[in-house]
């Protein structure tokens, strides 16, 4: 079933996108504030959602705020930071039961939108600073969050490889910034960053769910009416070709299994047809259980439990990552590169290609079944100014030829190898 996006401008630089489908039982309203990723401001912006979610002038107490959410049938408030292309996104969102299913006919859409407006527009800033106690608590939490990225070794390795390939492109920055920067923040910095954010961010409000969005639309329209703002345009990631020399970094930690990430680059983002060819090629290479990497590195050579490829459209970057025994690192790397050459040389049969195409189309068709996936789909496309529906992308996937897949594989080149491995010397090294 098709869920069409209806996007309307509420005021300058403030848009509301509605994705409505009666099959859902909940609605989610999110306010996304979008600014360019910038090494100077990334941490300062990153602390804001965690300060904003703590309360507002009309609900100063965090415990009372949570009780209010409980009373709204367990509405959940989410505040976080993400990035897409060269943009940093600060999000405040509430997911709540649709009015149709409340026991007493409560107007939850209205209530949730009002609460979001309060949290965003009436923060706990007094005399130009955030509450000191709250601020220092959240600053420590932000530092802890940045440091705890290391807990998940797979995603840590991926982000390290992305940074290694950075070459001063702000799109390679971590979404929360750095510990060094976070440590320098003051309550005044945060209050200033807040005002700058309200003044300069492009605002994308999303309403995804089964309910009537008009109450939310009214609340949001009023919230931004009368504000003089100077919203900035969205920022693309820089596209640069792979360097002559492959970048390399090895990090030693006390781990049982080594993690290897290979980063590849294409020298252009390409039009929709080229992007679809890259998507199909990546899936054929390492995106499905019938892909080259799964069948060879995992099933045939039994070297890895996971060995997968993914493509980041916004930066035209592909990653292959795997978890592997230290003594098998070289064999895994060799096989990963051999399999890419296989695609470049056209050594894949038409049936596998068609099957891969089918799998991608299946996942595209399922996008509309999950509110979260739908929201993610459209936000990233709005930011790259290429608002295609999943159906349009399916047609583009259908149009990709065998030659275009081979071309796509030839376009990407190895740029970086990141390795996370154990401290002690390997026996077989």
């Amino acid at each position: 079933m098709t869920t069409n996006l209806i996007r309307t401008a509420l005021s300058r630089g403030v848009n509301l996108s509605v994705l409505s489908d009666p099959k859902f039982k909940h609605n989610r309203i999110s306010i996304n504030l979008i600014v360019p990723l910038d090494a100077q401001t990334v941490s300062c912006n990153a602390i804001l959602p965690f300060l904003l979610r703590k309360g507002s002038q009309s609900c100063k107490d965090f415990t009372q705020l949570n009780r209010r959410l409980d009373a709204m049938y367990g509405a959940s408030l989410a505040a976080d930071v993400s990035k897409s292309g060269g943009n940093q996104i600060i999000t405040l969102g509430i997911k709540m039961l649709d009015d149709r299913f409340t026991l007493g006919g409560e107007a939850l859409v209205q209530q949730a939108a009002t609460l979001l407006r309060e949290l965003l527009m009436e923060p706990l800033i007094e005399d130009g600073v955030f509450d000191r106690k709250e601020f220092f608590l959240e600053r420590q939490n932000l530092i802890d969050t940045i440091e705890s990225l290391i807990n998940d070794k797979r995603s840590y390795a991926l982000s390290q490889c992305r940074m290694l390939m950075g070459r001063n492109d702000s799109a390679a920055l971590q979404k929360y910034g750095t510990v060094e920067q976070a440590q320098k923040l003051t309550p005044k910095d945060a209050a200033e960053a807040y005002r700058r954010l309200l003044d300069t961010a492009a605002v994308e409000i999303m309403f995804v769910g089964s309910g009537d969005p008009s109450a939310a639309s009214e609340v949001m329209k009023k919230a931004f009416a009368g504000m003089t703002r100077a919203p900035q345009p969205f920022t693309d990631a820089k596209i640069c070709p792979a360097g002559e020399e492959t970048l390399k970094k090895v990090e030693y930690l006390d781990v049982a299994q080594s993690k290897m990430v290979l980063g590849f680059r294409s020298d252009k983002r390409g039009n929709m047809a080229e992007q679809s060819a890259m998507r199909l090629m990546t899936a054929l290479y390492g995106g499905t259980p019938s892909s080259k990497l799964f069948l060879n590195v995992r099933e045939k050579l039994s070297l890895c439990y996971y060995c997968a490829a993914r493509y980041d459209r916004s930066s035209a970057v592909m990653f292959v990552d795997c978890g592997v025994e230290k003594e098998n690192i070289e064999s895994a790397k060799k096989e990963i590169l051999v399999q890419l050459d296989e695609i470049r040389n056209g050594n894949f049969d038409d049936e596998t290609l068609e099957n891969t195409r089918l799998q991608i189309k299946n996942s595209l068709r399922a996008v509309s079944d999950y509110p979260g996936t739908l929201e993610e789909w459209y936000i990233s496309r709005i930011l790259s100014d290429e608002v295609a529906t999943p159906e349009e992308e399916m047609r583009a996937i259908d149009a990709v030829t065998r030659e275009q897949v081979i071309e796509a594989a030839k376009k990407i080149r190895l740029d970086a190898i990141y390795l996370l491995t154990s401290k002690e010397e390997s026996v077989d090294a």
Binding site: M1, D21, P22, K23, K25, H26, F62, T63, N66, R67, L69, D70, A71, M72, Y73, G74, M96, L97, F101, L103, K133, L137, N141, D144, E147, S148, I150, N151, D152, K153, R154, L253, D254, V255, A256, Q257, T288, P289, S290, F294, R298, E299, S302, L303, Y305, G323, V324, E351, T352, N355, T356, L358, Q359, K361, N362, S363, R365, A366, D369, Y370
Partner: protein, 422 residues
């Protein structure tokens, strides 16, 4: 063919439960408006089933991790890999093994009729050779090593190891590199024959599909099976906990902790349904709306990663609080004190109503996700309740029920702290 409609008045929704002539239970919920269908073929065989007997036979003790190994191996048949067959339909297939069950699944938006046949074939036609078993030892070995480095996984299993003396939930689901090296094709067949009898299994489908398609596929592929009785070992588990505190060193930033209260298990059905009550009680004890949460947070003892869950199955029920903290021992002490105070003073009626209402809102979401609905129906069939029962239970839950759960399942003498730190 026995067929019944199970309905939920509140949501005005229903599903169909059928006992197919082969013995297999079918739980079928077509859902309007969805593009995809999600199918699960499951059996009550999990990592805890490490010793069993068929009929009057002697007990067989099998190596740890065999249920999970079997799950991996069923994807292979004489004609090749099931993933290759699914690839032709475009479905995305997977499987998982937990403490108490194994499930084989796929999700698709197209070619449902072919994918359901693949699923039925893969689960009902085992094929293992010593060679394919050997290959899998390498792959699963790497899966185990991956979990060795996963602090969330380690802190969890260390907690279960501290809470339980003998119960097999204290053992990692995938086993160890050593235990899986003892698995042979013959042992896999033994395990399969015990636990993969259609009379003890369930096929659950939710989303965009026709009931008739499923029945036709079952008629075509499934052979009627004679019921078997499988006895699993009686676990002799003392009420007490094994250790009060455990700690492991791993590469992490802030220390990770899990605090577990060993509950008093009842029947499988009662334990699974009690999870709903348990979640509400956990919320009332240290949820975001409590004074205790606020104090811990404001003092910097916990952060937003703090959360709770209730884990239940055959012969076990555990209430878990987890998060990151520079001082996990202090968090442990404070939560213990908070629980004791709540037990003494009683839960306030106002707080109970709020938590109950919040649980209702959260659970309603289960019934508008094809994945969650298919999963809920599997559990409903294996533990013998209606898939809407959790929602109805929340509707009818009283303050007394919550007080009783708090009394029975939060014993300050039967809890433990697990820490992972650098």
């Amino acid at each position: 063919m026995l067929s019944e409609t199970v309905a939920c008045r509140r949501l005005e929704e229903s599903y169909t439960r059928i006992v197919h002539p082969s013995g297999l239970t079918l739980m079928l919920c077509p859902m309007e408006g969805f593009s995809g269908a999600h199918a699960l073929f499951a059996t009550r065989c999990g990592s805890i089933d490490d010793s069993f007997a068929i009929g009057d036979e002697e007990y067989t003790t099998v190596p740890n991790g065999i249920a999970h190994f079997l799950e991996h191996k069923l994807f292979e048949s004489e004609e090749g890999d099931a993933f290759e067959q699914y690839a032709k339909t475009g479905a995305s297939a997977n499987a998982y093994t937990s403490f108490d069950r194994t499930a084989y699944l796929f999700g698709c938006t197209d070619n449902f009729d072919q994918s359901i046949e693949i699923l039925l074939n893969l689960v009902t036609k085992p094929y293992f050779t010593e060679k394919t078993v050997q290959k899998e030892q390498g792959i699963i070995g790497q899966e185990i090593r991956m979990y060795d480095d996963d602090p969330d996984w380690r802190v969890y299993f260390n907690l279960l190891g501290a809470l339980y003396h003998n119960h097999p939930i204290r053992v990692d689901i995938a086993g160890t590199v050593e235990s899986i090296s003892e698995i042979t094709a013959e042992l896999l067949y033994r395990c399969y024959n015990a636990f993969y009898n259609l009379n003890n299994m369930v096929l659950s489908v939710a989303g965009n599909f026709d009931i008739d398609t499923v029945i036709k596929a079952c008629d075509k592929i499934l052979l009627p099976a004679a019921p078997v009785t499988v006895r699993t070992r009686e676990v002799d588990e003392p009420q007490s906990v094994r250790e009060r505190r455990v700690e492991q060193k791993l590469e992490v930033a802030t220390p990770l902790f899990q605090i577990g209260f060993k509950g008093t298990p009842k029947s499988y059905r009662e334990n699974i349904l009690a999870q709903v009550t348990g979640e509400i009680v956990c919320d009332l004890a240290v949820g975001e709306s409590t004074e205790l949460y606020r104090t811990l947070y404001d003092e910097g003892l916990i952060n937003a990663s703090f959360g709770s869950e209730v884990m239940a199955g055959p012969n076990y029920l555990v209430n878990i609080f987890s998060g990151e903290s520079r001082n996990p021992d202090e968090v442990f002490a404070r939560i213990l004190k908070g629980v004791e105070e709540l037990q003494q003073n009683g839960i306030s009626a106002e707080a109970f109503e709020r938590a109950r209402r919040a649980a209702y809102g959260r659970y309603a979401g289960v019934y508008s996700s094809v994945e969650a609905m298919a999963g809920m129906m599997v559990l409903a069939s294996l533990a013998d309740f209606s898939a809407y029962e959790p929602l109805e239970l929340i509707d009818e839950l009283t303050l007394n029920d919550a007080q009783a759960f708090l009394r029975e399942n939060f014993d300050p003498a039967r809890c433990a702290l697990s820490v992972v730190r650098d």
